[in-house]
Amino acid sequence: MATYTANPPLPSDDKRWRIVNGTMRRHGFSRDALIETLHTVQQSFGYLDEESLKFVAESLRVPLSRAFGVATFYHFFSLKPPGEHTCLICTGTACYIKGAGQLVARAEKFLKVKSGETTPDGKVSLLTARCLGSCSLAPVAVMDGELAANASGEDMQAQLQVWVPA
């Protein structure tokens, strides 16, 4: 016979936990809702930390290992807080053929971080994506959510310079 266990309390008064809880409730706290819930956590908090993974795993009654496994398996989830600004460069095939590799190299050189990392002062995260579906405008960079079509190295660096004055 299944034993009844109460849902864990919200980790803090932070209103965002209620949004997370709402997603789980909408799915009846079913295990299937793990990925959907992690999406909500990432949307609300910007990334997944240990506290949120523990809370979600406990609420949905899945082992923490499974929650952690899912969080690390999918590229969309990040376990580190994002920088103040994000520079996302598409490295899909069309962008690659049109020189996305040079864009990444230039950004890496300027910010002195590898792609996927955030500058030590937490100012800028440099990310790459596998195809944003805007292939006819290649190469494409997304600066703080603003998509730059036919991106040039100069324009990108100029924007980075605004964020991180040398």
Partner: protein, 547 residues
């Protein structure tokens, strides 16, 4: 909902259309939107309000020629304007019917438009994707009404089988056969899943269909559910496509409100509802068993087949999985009949196919052509050829699972089987043109890196094999590879191809194998002369010393 009510909505939509003297269609799909077509639409709206013009501004889906965006069409004049910016709105409105923005006019008579045959994209760029009335106004949901009130499930399947439609996700499995298998798999609960996890880099067909005509996909899914006897459906869509997710959400709500989803659809005893599920950036989740695992909230690892999802899929129940484009074909097939659809295409591949034409080609964008058109017609007639006077080198089809096709095979008609013979696949429809500035070793290395990072790690041939092949390709591209490396690469390709668990591993060697077959001289140039003929690869210092 019955025929009269449907007709009434359609008539109202038609009246609303005719009330306006002219309709101005602004593309608000992702391509043009990233060129700020939303600001353009706002400016047009403002201008219309300010001048008291009788025309109506409407946001529509993709018009195809994305490289000329933002695109604006004026109906019923049939004019198309390219590269329109927000501050040109006043000139456009004031000059309507005359010679507005003459230098922005984009001819609809050019081969890019003339050579296409639109079935899946028939409403793209013509209707407002966020309004169900618009879709009904162009004949939407008539097929569904006809199906659920007049046809038996077996008759629907017969019609689809007769059309010869094959899965548009890439594998090309006959759709009618798949539906029949699911319909015969017991009488209990079943699922219908729409695979919208378009992971191939360089492909955006599904995204465009979902953003331009989402109701069409829903209608296809509902008909499929009726045919196989399913009551619950999922659309698994990439989280990287926020606009498609938003429009799908709106469409599902609208369809429920109008009575096409939910209980007793169109007054019959048939119940069906659809839920959205977001992917999370894993390429392997396009594989059907991995996709099912992901919907169940687990890591997206594939499992061996059989049992196929048609027998035991989501929650171990019979599950029908089809691609977005497959479902988008269904309403047209049921409306016009399977025999009509089967008239198009080649002997074994019927109908039309949507391709995303990108890379080094004049007209980049979304096209739909009858299957069997040659690559040369697609690239040089529709695509307008390679720009800047450069020389065509290869076309890459099928994404990381496909291969590179050189010039001597450009006159082969494109269908599922002909491309497989060339060592590539038709795949989901990505078509990337490369000119002589691309190095084929580098391209093979790029795709191998993709497969290496996207390998789920479950089976060893794929997990370890792709990493080793990537190492070898890196060495060759840096000019430090040897002839033994080349032999080892071929051996590994064979091993990974025949022993991997799922499609990702089985097709991962294709880019390397096809470039080895058609561009071996480039590999040899890297190895023997330590130089990259296209000047793309960075030759390592030790290799330069050796030469």
């Amino acid at each position: 909902m019955n025929l009269e009510e449907l007709q009434q909505i359609a008539d109202e939509a038609k009246l609303a259309r005719e009330a306006a003297q002219r309709e101005i269609h602004v593309c608000v799909a992702a391509g043009c939107l990233s060129l700020h077509s939303d600001r353009l639409k706002e400016a047009l709206d403002k201008e219309v309000a300010a001048t008291g013009s009788t025309c109506k501004v409407k946001g529509t889906g993709c018009m195809g020629l994305c490289s000329a965006g933002p695109l604006v069409a004026v109906e019923p004049d049939g004019l198309l304007y390219q590269h329109v910016s927000a501050n040109e709105a006043p000139a456009l409105i004031s000059g309507l019917g005359g010679d507005a923005l003459r230098d922005h006019i984009c001819s609809r008579e050019q081969p890019f438009f003339k050579r296409q045959v639109n079935i899946v994209l028939e409403n793209s760029g013509r209707i407002d994707p966020e309004k169900i009335e618009d879709y009904i106004g162009v004949g939407g949901y008539q097929a569904l009404l006809h199906v659920v009130t007049e046809l038996k499930p077996a008759e629907v399947i017969k019609e689809v089988a007769q059309s010869g439609l094959r899965g548009r996700g890439g594998a090309g499995y006959p759709t009618g056969l798949k539906w029949e298998t699911v319909s015969k798999a017991g009488s209990g609960s079943k699922y219908v899943i729409c695979n919208a996890d378009e992971g191939d880099p360089g492909a955006f067909m599904d995204r465009s269909v979902l953003e331009s005509d989402p109701q069409r996909v829903l209608e296809g899914m509902i008909i499929a559910a009726y045919a196989v006897g399913a009551n619950h459906g999922y659309i698994y869509v990439r989280a990287e496509y926020p606009l498609a997710v938003k429009r799908l959400g709106t469409s599902i709500r609208d369809a429920r409100r109008t009575g096409f989803l939910g209980n007793s659809i169109c007054g019959t005893t048939f119940n069906f509802d659809i839920e959205l599920r977001l992917g999370a950036g894993a390429f392997v989740c396009g594989e059907e068993t991995a996709l099912i695992a992901s919907i169940e909230g687990r890591r997206g690892s594939p499992r061996p087949r059989p049992p196929y999802p048609a027998q035991s899929g989501l929650n171990d129940l019979p599950t029908l999985i089809n691609n977005v484009e497959t479902f988008a074909n269904i309403p047209a097939i049921l409306r016009n009949g399977g025999a009509w659809y089967a008239k198009m295409g080649t002997a074994k591949s019927k109908g039309t196919k949507v391709f995303a034409l990108t890379g080094k080609v004049q007209n980049t964008g979304l096209i739909e052509v009858p299957i069997g058109m040659t690559l040369r017609e697609i690239i040089f007639d529709i695509g307008g050829g390679v720009p800047e006077g450069r020389k065509f080198k290869a076309v890459q089809t099928g994404g990381p699972s496909g291969g590179c096709i050189p010039e001597q095979f450009l006159d082969i008609p494109v269908d599922y089987d002909s491309l497989v013979q060339l060592g590539s696949i038709m795949g989901s429809g990505g078509m990337i043109v490369m000119d002589d500035t691309s190095c084929m070793v580098n391209v093979a290395r790029y795709f191998m890196e993709f497969c290496m990072t996207e390998s789920c790690g479950k089976c060893i041939p794929c997990r370890a094999g792709t990493a080793q092949m990537y190492e070898l390709l890196t060495r060759i591209s840096q000019g430090t590879g040897t002839h033994r490396d080349l032999d080892l690469l071929v051996d590994l390709c064979d091993m990974v191809k025949f022993t991997s668990l799922c499609g990702l591993g089985q097709s991962a060697p294709n880019p390397a194998l096809s470039t080895l077959k058609y561009f071996k001289d480039e590999y040899l140039e890297h190895i023997d002369s330590h130089r990259c003929p296209a000047g793309v690869c960075e030759i390592s210092a030790t290799a330069e010393v050796a030469s």
